[in-house]
Subunit: 137 residues, 2 copies
DNA sequence: CCCTATATTCACGTTAACGTCATAGCCAAG
DNA sequence: CTTGGCTATGACGTTAACGTGAATATAGGG
């Protein structure tokens, strides 16, 4: 009843998947165009479908995206993945990228902290100036 | 010899000013187009010039920009400045904007910190996974 | 076969803050 | 007079990651 052949049945169409994941169909097509995800083979212009494996990959991409990786970095990762076909080369490279990313984040935080100090300082001087004016009345 | 009439002489052309300030002429024209700075009045297509007062305003804009204010926020400030013509209304609004800005910066820092934790955590799990694989050999 | 919900492929639009031509005016030095 | 600088205006280009709309095409139920 629920079994024609396992494989066939678990292929999910783009709209359903996108609803489930909370992203747009445009996004998935864009990612495919950018070659960081795949959908099942199809003849010419038929509809896209995704196997459970592909869905896992897409969730993985979403995770990386949430962690701030750019599409470009993911393309790079995917190239490596294609070359090594297994996790042995993928994981070290991903770690390298993540390390790089942590450094970037640290730098951003440092810059923002400096910025914050400057803004607060400038604000203080404005307040002082304002008090001067008021004090003169 | 160095005095025709003080005012006239202190007007500086755009190229010189930009060199001094380390910004492009395009930037100054853009800022003028965006109405956050001014240059001296001129007939039709003659060259731009800046009085010492205008130069101070431009330096002020650069400061605000370095502190992360957008052109839009500066436009808003300039409107208020035009309305009140003096510092009484300008300073409180600027303080308000800066406060808002500090909040934004705090939020960004918090988000980045969370992100950092996530990335580090994910990285750790990758390392563990890698060690598992190696341990099995 | 038809109908309708879903999908497909272009391809231009969006946002910020300028960068980068292309074309042309103006003025002083040689 | 010519050449070299500096400047002016106008307009398209850039970057990221999709959003949006138009004109079809497909899939599944009745």
């Amino acid at each position: 009843m629920q079994n024609d052949r396992q494989e066939t049945e678990q292929i999910v169409p783009i709209g359903e998947l996108c609803n489930e994941l909370g992203i747009s169909t445009r996004t998935l097509r864009y990612w495919e165009e950018a070659r960081i995800i795949e959908s099942v083979e199809r003849q010419s212009r038929s509809n896209r479908g995704y196997t459970p494996y592909m869905v896992r990959r897409i969730k993985f991409i979403i995770k990386l995206k949430d962690m701030g990786l750019t599409i470009k970095e993911m393309q790079h990762l995917y190239e490596i993945y294609g070359a090594a076909k297994e996790t042995e080369a993928l994981i070290p490279e991903l770690i390298r990228i993540l390390d790089n990313h942590i450094d970037l984040v640290d730098e951003k935080i440092a810059n923002l902290s400096t910025l914050r100090r400057e803004v607060v300082e400038y604000r203080k001087r404005l307040i002082d100036k304002q008090n001067e004016v008021n004090g003169r009345m």
